[in-house]
Amino acid sequence: MLTAPPLPLPDLARFQRQDGAGALAPETTELAPGLFLNADPNLGLSGSWRSPPGRFLELEARATGRGGWMALHLALPLGGLQDITYLGYACRAAGPAPWMIRPCLRSGTVDGGFTDTFFGKHILATERPASHLDALYLDSCPELPLAAPWREMVLFFPCEDFQIHLHHLYLFAL
């Protein structure tokens, strides 16, 4: 039974409707309020992003060095998790070669750090676009704090050259 509406993320919906494009910065690329790409500076990241109308995000990334992370961050307006049973996403992805994306829920901690809770499945961007759906059953994630100063959905991309198109990204809490 649906006990809560889909997450109200007006900035995400607006971003998906509008036409936007730009270059990837070596460290942080702001896409929209609460939506940004963050990379390990050691990657020497360059490339481009595009968000055509009706589509979420097309990424073409080039890495000249070795680095530890490259990810898309989406700020989640979540209060406590005590009244939520499932937190999940639905997306559609494609890429010229099979590239793996690893989604997680990141929770800020009071000491200024954070803790990551990874979803059980990864997203495989394949030549033919494919849909991916997964949810965290929150009771099965005891390490996930019920209260946190902030939360983000984080999608980790490969730390090398890649092309990935995310046609849609929707988040839901039930």
Binding site: R17, R55, E58, E127, R128, P129, Q163, H165
Partner: protein
Amino acid sequence: MTLDLTIAIPVRNDTGHLIQLLASLAALDLARQVIVADDGSDEPVAAAALARASGFPAERLAVLRLDRGRGAGAARNLALRAVRTRHLLFLDADDRPTRELRSLCAALAQAGEFDFCIFQHHDSRLAKDRLFGQPCHDQAFWAAAGLARGALAPVSDAAAAQLAQTANYPWNKIYRTEFLHAQGITCTEISVHNDVELHWMSFLKAGRILASDHIGVVHFVDEAGQRLTNRFGPERLQVFQAFEAVAQEIRRAPERGLGLPFYAFTLGLIGWIRDRMQPGLHPRLAASAAGFLEHNRTAAQRAELRRLQPEAYERILHLIAAHAPANLPGLLEAPAAERRRA
């Protein structure tokens, strides 16, 4: 901003599917106008009843009629002459538009001027493999064009030479209506393959072409049904009428670089027809194929075609050798001088 779009639908004795399509179009609010071109249905299509049954607004629905069945090409041309919106999409009655088509229309409304936009589709036969998208044959041309992925991109001449060789249309292109009208581009008024001329003439005459990986239409293929598309009698020989029209334009504008792709396409289509046609008609198919190739391609051009498409060319030679051997010598060997030039 929305796209000023008419959707034109030829139909013959298929009101059930048509009502479902109109209901989808109403729900997605895709078109300012829908024109149904009734290809001489036994019971004439009635606009008011269609609007009532589908929920599509009656004031945005027009029904035109051919008094006798003349094929989808004639019906599409009838609708084309009546289109008054800036853009046009042909759909078949049993096609289904997707939400992605709505997104594409929104993007095209902001895309500036274009002559047509070709987009991807889902072929119902792929569902058995749990796939959603185009047949591999078409997808390979999109990949070769470098356009398999991307929400909206301009099509270069080299990419157009690839995309033109795809086999499924016309319900995957949004046209600028004035482009078709000004260039005099229409469907061939024949029973089957009426859309080959529309497709190739569009690529031959377009200035700005766009391509999108949006899967805008679900196209249903029922290989066992009684539709015209499943007939393999003498009407299939009419394809050469469409071929000739395109060949004439290629001779007129060879600089578009679509000659070789077009003849490669014809080899493939002739072979496809041969595999399905009643064997008793193979001699006529062979003679038509030989005449078409001999008349429209020089020996050097045939040698180049044979070099680039050896398998398809050999299949046609085999057909001609078996059923119209008198035509074979002209196709088999290029004169030495021309062979050297090739």
